[in-house]
Symmetry: C2
């Protein structure tokens, strides 16, 4: 995607900063809209309005609604994919508990999960989501085996069940607000999740 031409003269640096800020703002507003309303129901006009910018900026920075969605998914992956140093099942469990219920559990994580789960109704966009889920599960499976070798399909299946449990917990905590799950702290979740991850990923 072409960058807008760099301005020359004394105001070049502030304008670049403004552009970076607008791109970040568009990403945040779009992630929220896509997560809450779904891909199909969201228009670029809605997003531009939420961000308080001209709709033409979306085409300039992200080419299209699909391009913007792809950028949101990439952003969510970065969020879900940090901490590549995790190795033991107990650390994986603690990390999941912290993301779901800890200080890091903000709307951003929640919206990222919803982006992964909500069907967009467009095949190319859904293919992006599937690829992303596949790469997260394989990374989780490799974390479990402790090697860089390609994990076996049964191991990837077990890793996906861990991921499914994490997604299901995040959903039950918010939308229906099922108790005691909705009020459980990271500390409350850590022991059961550790049992779950250990049982699935060390066999």
């Amino acid at each position: 995607m072409a960058e807008p031409p760099a301005p020359s003269g004394p105001d070049a640096a502030p304008r670049r900063r403004d552009a970076a800020r607008t791109r970040r703002l568009l990403l945040e507003v779009a992630r929220r809209r896509f997560a809450r309303d779904g891909y199909a129901a969201t228009t670029v006009r809605d997003i531009a309005e939420d961000a308080g910018v001209n709709v033409a900026l979306i085409s300039r920075y992200y080419a299209s609604k699909e391009g913007l969605f792809e950028a949101c998914l990439a952003d969510a992956t970065t969020e879900l994919d940090r901490d590549t140093e995790i190795h033991s099942p107990t650390q994986v469990a603690a990390d999941i508990a912290e993301r779901i219920a800890g200080s890091a559990a903000d709307d951003q994580v929640q919206d990222g999960l919803l982006l992964l789960l909500r069907s967009s109704g467009e095949e190319r966009v859904d293919e992006l989501r599937r690829r992303l889920l596949g790469s997260i599960s394989r990374r989780l499976a490799r974390t479990a085996t402790g090697t860089d070798e390609t994990p076996s399909e049964p191991t990837v299946l077990r890793a996906q069940i861990v991921l499914a449990a994490a997604l299901g917990i995040a959903l039950l905590r918010t939308s229906p607000g099922a108790q005691p799950l909705a009020s459980a702290s990271a500390q409350d979740l850590e022991a059961p999740l550790s049992d779950l991850v250990t049982a699935l990923l060390t066999k």
Copy 2:
């Protein structure tokens, strides 16, 4: 809710059969609409049209949209709550695997799960969903302890994590269609689920 007055005369029995058939049809059509479009976006007119009946029949049989939704949830609970004889974690695991991926896994189960997860945006309806999720989790927790005593809160939390995993698996299999999970058979799921249920419910 008042039943429509029973007809007298020779055609009484066929008319009662028709009424039962219409109620069942309305329930099925409504469950699908609520599950796919959500509570707020669904109108009684849509449901009546899908069922090919006059919209007045919905008020007659279910009083209101909320009454119809309540009946759908009650129906889904009956479906999710059957098999009260299950006792061992292995049996629970086999049952979950069968419901998610086995011969019993049809649209009805899928729609029931979506009804439980999708926020209706109306407090009274969401309260119904929370009560239902609470009763399923407590029953699952009692199954684990093998007694009829009220389970402790940590046990209910663990039971809800089992339920969350089942919901997450059902969601990942359908909407994004994550592989290998989407193609996993009941048999493929049984061993990992048995490890999961045992780890969570026998501590």
